[in-house]
Subunit: 311 residues, 2 copies
Amino acid sequence: MPLRYTYLGPEGTFSEQALRTLPEVADAVVTAARSVPEALDAVRADEADAALVPLENSVGGAVAVTLDELASGAPLMITREVVLPVQFVLGARAGIDLDAVTTIAAHPQAAAQCRNWLRKNAPGATVVEVLSNAAAAIGAAGGEYDAGICAPIGAARHGLRLLGENIADHADAMTRFALVTRPAVPAPPTGDDATSLVVFIAHDRVGALLQVLTEFALRGVNLTRIESRPTGERLGRYMFFFDCEGHVAEARLGEALMGLHRVSADVRFLGSYPRARLDGRAGGAEFAPGTTDADYAEAADWLTRLRAGGI
Amino acid sequence: MPLRYTYLGPEGTFSEQALRTLPEVADAVVTAARSVPEALDAVRADEADAALVPLENSVGGAVAVTLDELASGAPLMITREVVLPVQFVLGARAGIDLDAVTTIAAHPQAAAQCRNWLRKNAPGATVVEVLSNAAAAIGAAGGEYDAGICAPIGAARHGLRLLGENIADHADAMTRFALVTRPAVPAPPTGDDATSLVVFIAHDRVGALLQVLTEFALRGVNLTRIESRPTGERLGRYMFFFDCEGHVAEARLGEALMGLHRVSADVRFLGSYPRARLDGRAGGAEFAPGTTDADYAEAADWLTRLRAGGI
């Protein structure tokens, strides 16, 4: 039976574009979901085997709905990350030239990210805010607006002609997506992995977040992302999303996780998965002195000898 | 000349409702801004004396655009905070009853926050997403939709009849707003103040965030909020918004700020202001042992004696 994938739709989103970069998707059944919760619930209900959803953007920041959904409900697991350059295009129906454009449909985030380009290239046009990049493409294709800011795949899907390519002001903006499945044994370490967690801070302790960060630092575990989100209880109550280098199978990360489990109100493990290296950084995890698996094994042997009366 | 206030408009938003809670606004000239950047730029350009904008919500989290705008551009200062319960209402034109409602306009955040109420009380209605709570009220008033989810002030402003009050699922959801002015000498401490900062982490140092948190903890400065936001440079680069208890005039907070200034890439002071206590918590700052102004003064005297050959 072919694998069943879903993604944050509608058709033509950056999420679909990210999903299509995975070679195994060519043979799969692919369905668009109307929202991130719908995509993840389809995986929970075994109506899909995996969902591709956005996690964070280097300009817009965390995708709050994805974080909130991963932190609550039946547990899910990130098995893969995809990093995609954000390449907005301005698309229009055939026959409409840039000078003739008076209305441009755009998601507010997209409009904000393309502000300078629009000011320079379409100073007379009015930007009309719509609810998604795909809706902008659909609005331009249907004639509701003269043009729309969307993903390249959205313009292609709706037969739009490109009036501008790479129109985002931050030319190197990136979006990071996660492929999410039901919980399973994580794939073995590749030597260049990332691990994602949600930590619910014990709010009755002073300095609880400091203690959490110390648990990572003590074991030489490098944090690559920290996002706070309200728990929804009241102002001042947060959960923290951490991404760190390393794999749950490594001793240093295992000990850090046990430490977090001891000192936090709750920890939800969101998966260990190979790092995507599309942003040009060198790959490969580094181990601070004394933090390799061999160091941990040797220290455990030493303690065993001590307890047995050795030295 | 009367003071000039602006707020995140259009008329009828929660921001207007928060602004109207300030007694001095009764005599002021009040203008709606079309966006948070427009509101803050009006203050920067001296077209307004103060702007009221949303900072965070206990369910939806940080208002990213406000944080990003405060962290960049000409510096501004928070001189006051307003905490408002989020009380969504469902409004409709006269003559439309709840059973007859087939379409409901709502901002996606509002729809998400009222999901359970809608499921129970309007199971047959379709929610149509619009770009603001005020747009939902306008759409319901104009007949484009049967009803709209909005702020109480929005329903009143557009003559809507209330089909439901307090319809949010988290009955105690709160939104925190900031009154922002041009930089000035902060008002003197009230004994129950908060201070806001943006810290740009030195990314070339391992454990830089741990060091930042330690600067606060060492001086017994209690953090009440931490939000990370991307700097826009690339994935993995963050700035951190901190709210802490205390006033910049206090010795403990002064020393913590100097410490942050020394170990961070940059620190932007966003103001010290009286805490709003609408969420029922007890007021009044607490000082850990050894962290009062008197303790700091006594320690400085002691060091001076040591350096002078005393003991």
